[in-house]
Symmetry: C2
Subunit: 197 residues, 2 copies
DNA sequence: ACCTGAACACCGTTCAAGT
DNA sequence: ACCTGAACACCGTTCAAGT
């Protein structure tokens, strides 16, 4: 590894990994070039050798997050043959896993330049994944699309709600009832209209 | 109105209203004392006569938002006698209304001091409102609580999804299908388990 | 090729001094 | 009672100069 004055030279990846950690702790606003430079024992000036500007760094960190939170998870899920089982697996591993702080902070800046493209790509991947399962389960294309919207919209809001300690206590223990409603009958589909009993 | 040197003196409310507008445009991060001072033709020093610090201003603006987005809307909704109709009204007026930028940006800072208490209060109010409707519709307390979580979680995520122009095009035209699923039969409740057909 | 150091703008906060 | 103006810390960005 190349060094200078005893200290190792910093690579673009070193900066990116430090930024991803800052992203987890404090969201997009928490990525401060000045602070990272201090942590890494370099100057701000050095940063601008590796990156165009702060947005460039944020995008690099978000793409690391994209891989670890979405792209890398798909193969394992696709390996499950039965679609209903696949949906249950996604709900228990993804919906019920610890809250992803990055996910939440991205919402606020969904249309800011550094965030927009990465977030749109991730979202499309996840919506499609859910819709495809619902189609496999026998729903019509349109209805599957609508329910995938519900499923993924709920995923986002659910993690948002969980951010508060007090509200998290109100959270249902299991989310499998969501799967049941997602693939179940809407009111009015049967003759009568009295729910549950 | 009191003046000095031709200019009107600024009140706490003047600052708060300006902050609320900044909040709508740029989220919590968009509330900058320096910029507001310039807009209002005052100095930053003057700001600290009216407020403890920036957080104090943010809280004041959020409480204005709380009134206009939640507290003031409840009486009209409560006036609808039929619970199913009341639920449909909420979905069409609140879920299908323009995206509330403040709502979204609060998620990212849900546990930061200025945001936490206001947001928790608003959220509890809205969750309770939905649960009470579902109980009136005949659901058991526990099931109503679970489905209210789904309903409100979806509300939050839905508005988050809508923030992107491209994703918003995928949004279902009407959300009444959500009401139908919320009050409908889960899969497995009937003898068979084949959905829709 | 990679980094330092100094400069500038922007913003939060404090405080002595003004009216 | 309400405000100004100057000071300081923090952070993004630029750039000439160093190795």
């Amino acid at each position: 590894m190349a060094t200078r004055g005893g200290k190792p030279l910093l690579s673009r990846e070193d900066w990116t990994r430090a930024a991803l950690q800052a992203l987890e702790r404090g969201g997009v606003a928490g990525v401060a070039v000045d602070r990272l430079a201090k942590e890494l024992g370099a100057t701000r000036g050095s940063f601008y050798w590796h990156f165009e500007d702060r947005d460039d760094l944020v995008v690099a960190a978000l793409e690391m997050w994209e891989r670890e939170s979405t792209t890398d998870l798909l193969p394992a899920a696709r390996a499950v043959a039965d679609p209903l089982e696949r949906l249950r697996l996604v709900v228990s591993t993804v919906y019920e896993s610890p809250v992803d702080r990055i996910e939440i902070s991205l919402a606020a800046e969904a249309h800011e330049p550094p965030v927009a493209s990465v977030l749109a790509r991730v979202t499309r991947t996840r919506l499609d994944f859910r819709r495809d399962i619902l189609v496999e389960l026998g729903l019509e294309e349109d209805e599957a699309e609508r329910r995938a919207w519900l499923a993924y919209g709920f995923y986002l809001g659910h993690h948002q709600l969980r951010r508060s300690r007090r509200l998290d206590r109100r959270r249902p223990k299991s989310l499998q009832y969501v799967v049941d409603l997602l693939v179940g009958q809407p009111a009015g589909a049967t003759a009568e209209r009295s729910p549950t009993r």
